[in-house]
Amino acid sequence: MSMWLYDLLIEPWTHAYFIKAALGGSIIAVACAVLGCYIILRKMAFIGDAMSHALLPGVGIGYLVMNALFPGGFTAGGLLLGALIAAVLTSLCISFLSNAGRIAEDTAIGIIYTGLFAAGVVILTRFQQHINIDLNHFFQGDIYGIAWSDLWLGAAVASVVLAVIIIFYRHLTIVSFDPTMAASIGLPTHFIHILLTVMIALICVAGISMVGVIMIVGLLITPAALAYLLTDRLPHMMIWAAVMGVLSVVLGLYFSEWVNASGGGSIMFVGFLLFIVGLILAPRYGLLAAWLRRRRIVPQADIEDVLKLAYEGCCQLSDMAMGVVRATKAARQMVGEELLDPTSLRQGSILLTDKGRQEAAHIMRSHQLWEGHLIQAGMTAQAAHEAAEALEHLHHREVLVDFAAELEHPVLDVDGRPIPPADSSG
């Protein structure tokens, strides 16, 4: 292997800080991604955002309290507990405010999280000398500086979150999908909502020291959203989300090494790029697939024109007035709908099946009746013929019944050709 590739791909793994970053980041990313599936399915993304910011006062107060109780010692527990209380409080405040009066939920979220975040900033800056939390750190995290204790905390929280999701998979899914049904079989929907909220808070606390408050929201939402584009099954979605989360972390760390940029920022930037790629290329729900699908749709009018031309005796694709390309596309579609005979199409000629003849007769009749109706309404024969070319595609049976009655059930059209009878198949 060339030296260059070695430096690019292997060399970073020889540093303990890189390994720790990759390990810690991946652990958090997996838990975030799986939890994130429920967040986006429940359309709670905004709440995740709110929650992560609202943690600040909880973390600050927890730190102060633990410092007062155990000077200089054990603070991780205080941080977690403070954050949990803040999370539950946030979610209760939001649901109270949005049920209390005129304030809608999104407004309530905006008010509560900025308010609590501001309280956190005030606490942190007022007690600066007592609290060893750096606001910049809260925003950006420091993935290359994670301590073993951070790693253990992350692993513990991630295990708890994944275990809860596995154990309560059924309950979380049904409460997300159909809360009314969930309540009717006696599930505690409110408790399950709080449970989700608490898990978001836990994972935020564990992850903020690594990637910061904004990027943790990204890890919760972006990989899950990408997975949502890739599959229709919730278990698959969770696995895809986890894979994409880990991929973001590892590729992001490489990227940050190569260009010498912030680790947390690089992780989320790569995650974002992965999402964009997925958005374009996803097999079923991607933009490219949607575009291709739209292109493949043959206009109904083209099909009807081919039917009518074939009915009138035109039997070569190359003779179709619309041009051979459009006619071929329409013809292929019509074979699928059993309107055309496939064997003769392969030789470039058009042969209607019985079903095709029936449909074609209906379009013919529509054209002739429209023509008759328009002439009766005062149009010249030439103008009526041209207008009927467009209007014949409005061939709802009830319209034709009205026209036939109006023209006193004609058998010949204005040019003296027979009008096919209305078919009885309905």
Binding site: F168, S184, L187, R233
Partner: protein
Amino acid sequence: MSGPDQSNSAVSIEHLTVSYQTKPVLVDISLEVPRGTVVGILGPNGAGKSTIIKSIMGFVPRDFGSVRIFNEPVDDACGLVAYVPQRGQIDWNFPVTVRDVVMMGRYGHRRWYQSMRALDRAKASEALESVRMSEFMDRQIGQLSGGQQQRVFMARALAQESEILLLDEPFAGVDAATERAIAGLLAQAKEQNKTVIVVHHDLETAAEFFDAVVLLNRRLYAYGPPREVLDQGLLAEVYGGKLRNLSWRQEEAT
């Protein structure tokens, strides 16, 4: 004791009054649904039909009155009622398959630490079979027609094996095949002595689907056999100005 036959009552509502904030939605509703009947609830938009369904599930705070399910207060009676939601309440992009949805009907039969058993899977397949949706087992629910989606939720309600089925507008916007399937299921449920309460909006078909009809518009206007309840004068009173459509149909018939 005199009065209605208590032992035969599935749902018993007495003086039920419900309001949202200050707006009264249901005023002094009393009605008794005997076991094994198929009841239609009719009324204009905003009449409180969905609200009465929700109060039979015990979800709505009552201002006054009581709802009893098999003579138990509704707040204690849990799992006796299966519910088919209104179409608009479901997120059709949710990544669940037909099979997943029907299995949800079995969740109430297992405690949280128990896993689903072969019996549950069998009941789910049976329910899917009875609405003729077995071949779509592995489809995501968004990739079905409206009528097929309705049938899946019917199957879920059947898999619940509840004594009481509540359906909120199952006939809204479905194709003829689904309408027949749902009507067949109503009949089938009745044969199994189940009690079915259906919110319905089409006055014309009410008589053929239901044993009894409730005419509701905030107050209870009538409750009884369809032929008696679907009386022109009463309908005009309940639907007020909104009856134009119906009278037009009458003119056409005469």
